[in-house]
Symmetry: D2
Subunit: 371 residues, 4 copies
């Protein structure tokens, strides 16, 4: 007997749009999802762009008007990968239409807007999910299990970072990333390490951040020689205290020459420690040894770490980045059909955004900020 | 305008069958393939099994008779992931029907059979592809480019290995893997490092192998306490000489405790060197340094290494094992539609199998064997 | 013709005392030093202890009175490895006697005392050296050369740490380390990463630190069950700004489960980056690559990196920790004989101590502190 | 009370001579040796060279005649670091004089000579030691303990190598290394991995080797343009079977571009595995994990691994190459004074040399050779 269908509407067809489309296409062949996603509508900046993208990504039709997508009765889940500034209006319309909303991070350009979106979604009772894909890694789930189990004792220290080099070149032009409203490295990639820190260690109590703009001007647009000032940070170093008393540091850096994906952390406890870097995403380092056998053990991802086995029954066959998105979509489809709720939802994304803004405030005021 | 369609028939729905299905589902959303694959027919051991697998993997229909799949007019490409012993009859039927044949490795249980299949395919002029997926890694393509360019000088030495631990436990029972006809570690995974060695360094001139059975008996079947002798190797160490004069060693080992995917090699040349392990499949080590700056440089996969960019426009986002299969399928679809031919074809797979058998002969005779 | 001799007096025979003794014994066979050190006098807590230690470490005689050692005319260099609280009186006496003073870090228990010692030494014109041994590593010298040469462009970011686990156990008792006056992790090992940061990047402009005591009580002494409160930090995370505008973070942690010597840093510049950890002290990571060949290059220590060649003429033969002390002593002997001046001297050690205290003040006041 | 003295005579003052001298100078300050070594006589190619070297390395006097050194009554131990061709006459003279003989590897230029030396030493009852320094590493001792304890089960496979690049350049001239009598990579560095394999796994039963000369001519001497043929191997790959049934492979390679000290191995057993490389000599990788926690554990050298604690009481402070020689000398002095016997003695070195020659014979005859 055939499974029920879930209609997917996707807004945006860039980097993340393609990644969403691939996940929705693949998921039912890999996971035992309760319903089969159907790629109904793709919305983009114009009808023509949308038609092309729909064809290339396997959607039934395209539209230049996201409003039409949201209103389409065949669409059950609205996936938002549009520019950040459009997240709020699209999400609010989808919430009003009672749809499940699956939005890329950051949820919005300001915490205030993110809170409005959160409250609207909660009032409407719709399911929401924000795309902090790195949390889907089985190694990260394992890390949380190890921490929760008490295996590394009481956690004492945290040292985390998300460092990449995509803005290291001073001639990378202005874009939505450098828009003062909500932008900067701390928002763009700092949000990943913040969300991961919360996932692993719980709420943050206070922060003290030092934000820095390395390249003070950038070209106004691609190909332009005219330059305009940059008002956001390229690199932020911060002190952080969690509610459970753990203290540590945190870095967001998009001008980190030499780094392409150093979303990494080390967590120390009274009995053990864990370390991870997304640069080797299929490995988790665990320390729990006696003095004469000390040193980290490199745990490799495998079928013992669900849902790895959905992709491959044998160990040693690595997961890739796109697989994380498939896991995310599988959890979303399950939640949409009334199964296990999934997260991080809008409220969690709002909490992350509050921390980002607290860091910016802390920097401006040169003092600790409570959350 | 919609793309033309290519009908896919898949025989088998185990580990590799699922992997094929996923690749055919995903490929058109990631690659600009000339035609859209349609998942028409899935064949399995019974109608019932096939129907279930077809539903779960997204095929239009299932059949318990692979002959029906091969004969189906809507099927253009026959993908074979059935037990090794069935490769020959299915492939021969598909060749006879003029279909493109996409077969998992090993091509067949003996080199003689593999040669028959090769000659039949060549006589019929059909396109063939054998699933040596690890060759699809952009890092492996880069390695070949570096070698071919002369950047590491004249190649002098090779040290390769495929070591895993899936048969390390003496209580893993007999299966097709331990069938004397063509089985053993040297065939099962030795073929991977042999095909990679040929891909990087060209034809092998002679081999001398030492095969060893570590566990001399195994349970006759899962759950059985009765044990039967093992007639194939668990571990083979071999000396190898390539036609171009390079000398080296090669290991196949499925009882390598501690290893889950050590498909690895180091290649030394007069001016530089390269090293790789599938355990870190997104990295290639290159040495070309001056004495005071010596040491390997860790090259990370990224958009500079096609077709990585098809999966993600940014560096640092790893490819996974399943992505290799998507690349393989994209190349197959292109070749099927008259584009760039793809490989390794049946003849190449036959050449690999000849080397496997030469190793077995060498061990039995305790001497070098020419190819 | 025999070389002139330099008389060595060593105060203390613990961990560092033995290390000093070994360095003085070995140095003349490895380095072309201008004078031959003679191990004249060893001072320890009692005449008996001193006599035993003198015999075991190869000194001519022992004394229970460091004053006698300082006054001894055959002693040219006074090496101080006594408890921190004794550094000031011994050094002041040695300065008054016009001797070269070689003191272990920290220079003293407070910055005020360290400044007094510095000013006394400068007024007397004696040579001083403080044992920040990790700076002697040829890889660290190479890192400074690379930074100074401009090879990695303008430096933008710093992320440093010294983390060990020797106080991770709450039952490690009180000792000089936990003495409130000048103690704590930030002083004990934070001083190493601070001195290294200054060596590589120059003066620090301001700091903001968060100090934390993980274990709030410890046994009053070895073997005691009675516990007393701990008043110093176990772990400090800090923000740091250098005078040249570089910003970053810094951690000192002696309760870092899983770490035995993570004196490590990454330094990013506009054109490249460097990374190092003392856990692999014979390696320096350098990034200066084009996108398609990106990734760190692992530079291994070798004869191209002086004074490695003094220990071994071939690459690949690692230096060890004790070798760093030999290098330190070789530079001291050269300076003592009127050759190239050596550092870090007392003033530099005072500057490090000022930063340590600035961090403690910053924590207490919860605000940035200028230096 | 002062310790008794042992008189040291050293023949040779090159790379290894300096290393010996340093070890004899340092050892008594680090180890509780039963007697204090006194550096009496250094012999070199001429009186003048010897006098200079004696001064620089701390010996009492020099001589251009090793015969005088051997005959010197103040010399108890004769340390031989002269060219290989001189090992036999010097050692035989020292044996005849009843002295303890400490000889660098290879023991001699042929196995026949090595056997004569061995038999002479055994007949005379003198203590002998051959400088296979890498065996002194506490990590190697730990590896042997782990193997012997049964922790990794029954050993099944071995994969070892000693690869360096010091002869990779075709313009490195002829020297004692390329002398046909006993030379070549397999003798020069192959002997290290052979001795280590025997230390860890016991006697070798048979070998099959493939030797290759990469650079067929070399300059006749430094600075010469005239070239002469090379008659020894640059690179040898070999199959090996141990008496206990373990099978594996072994490589000796002095033209391994990119490698400076890849003396490395992996040993697999039925329950676990070990891996090591001299490039990270303070680390040993141990696998003994459950499936969900699999992966190697990186054991770092520390005070739990004697005699590490002799060099430093704290973990994380690396040993270096020269420290291995100090350990060797400490064991020699103990044995000389009637304490625990030390090895490898001449007989063990002869056994290693037999294997080297068996490999050369195997290559020439293209067949397995029994030992």
């Amino acid at each position: 007997m055939s499974k029920p269908e879930i209609g997917i509407g996707l807004v945006g067809s860039g980097f993340m749009g393609r990644c969403h489309a691939n996940a929705f296409r693949s998921v039912a062949g890999l996971f035992d999802v309760p319903a089969e996603p159907r790629l109904r509508v793709l919305a983009d900046a114009s009808d023509e762009l949308a038609a092309d993208a729909a064809l290339s990504l396997g959607f039934e039709r395209g539209t230049g008007h996201w409003q039409a997508l949201v209103a389409d009765e065949s669409v059950d889940i609205v996936a938002i990968t549009a520019p950040n500034v459009l997240h709020a209006p699209i999400a609010q319309a989808a919430i009003a239409a009672g749809k499940t909303v699956y939005c890329e991070k950051p949820l919005s350009t300001t915490a205030v807007l993110a809170l409005e979106m959160t409250e609207a979604a909660e009032a409407a009772g719709v399911i929401t999910l924000v795309g902090f894909n790195f949390l889907r890694n089985p190694m990260i789930k394992l890390a949380r299990e190890i921490i929760t189990s008490g295996e590394i004792g009481e956690v004492t220290g945290f040292r985390g970072r998300h460092a990449e080099n995509y803005m290291a070149d001073p001639d990378v032009p202005h874009s939505f990333r450098t828009d003062p409203q909500g932008g900067g490295a701390v928002a763009d990639i700092g949000s990943h390490i913040i969300s991961m820190a919360r996932y692993l260690l719980g709420p943050v109590a206070e922060v003290h951040a030092d934000c820095r703009t390395i390249h003070e001007t950038r070209p106004t647009a691609p190909g332009m020689t005219q330059r305009a000032p940059v008002e956001v940070d390229d690199m932020t170093h911060a002190l952080v205290r969690f509610e459970n008393g753990v203290s540590g540091s945190l870095e967001a850096n998009w001008a980190a020459t030499a780094r392409t994906m150093d979303l990494s952390w080390e967590i120390s406890g009274t009995k053990g420690a864990l370390a991870f870097t997304q640069e080797r995403m299929n490995e988790l380092q665990l320390w729990s040894g006696a003095p004469e056998r000390s040193g980290y053990t490199r745990i490799e991802s495998g079928p013992s770490h669900p849902p790895y086995g959905r992709f491959c029954p044998a160990p040693g066959h690595h997961l890739g980045f796109n697989d994380l998105k498939v896991i995310e979509v599988a959890e979303l489809l399950t939640a949409h059909s009334g199964g296990t709720p999934c997260g991080p939802d809008f409220r969690e994304a709002y909490e992350v955004q509050r921390i980002v803004e607290a860091m910016q405030v802390s920097h401006a005021q040169r003092q600790w900020v409570n959350l």
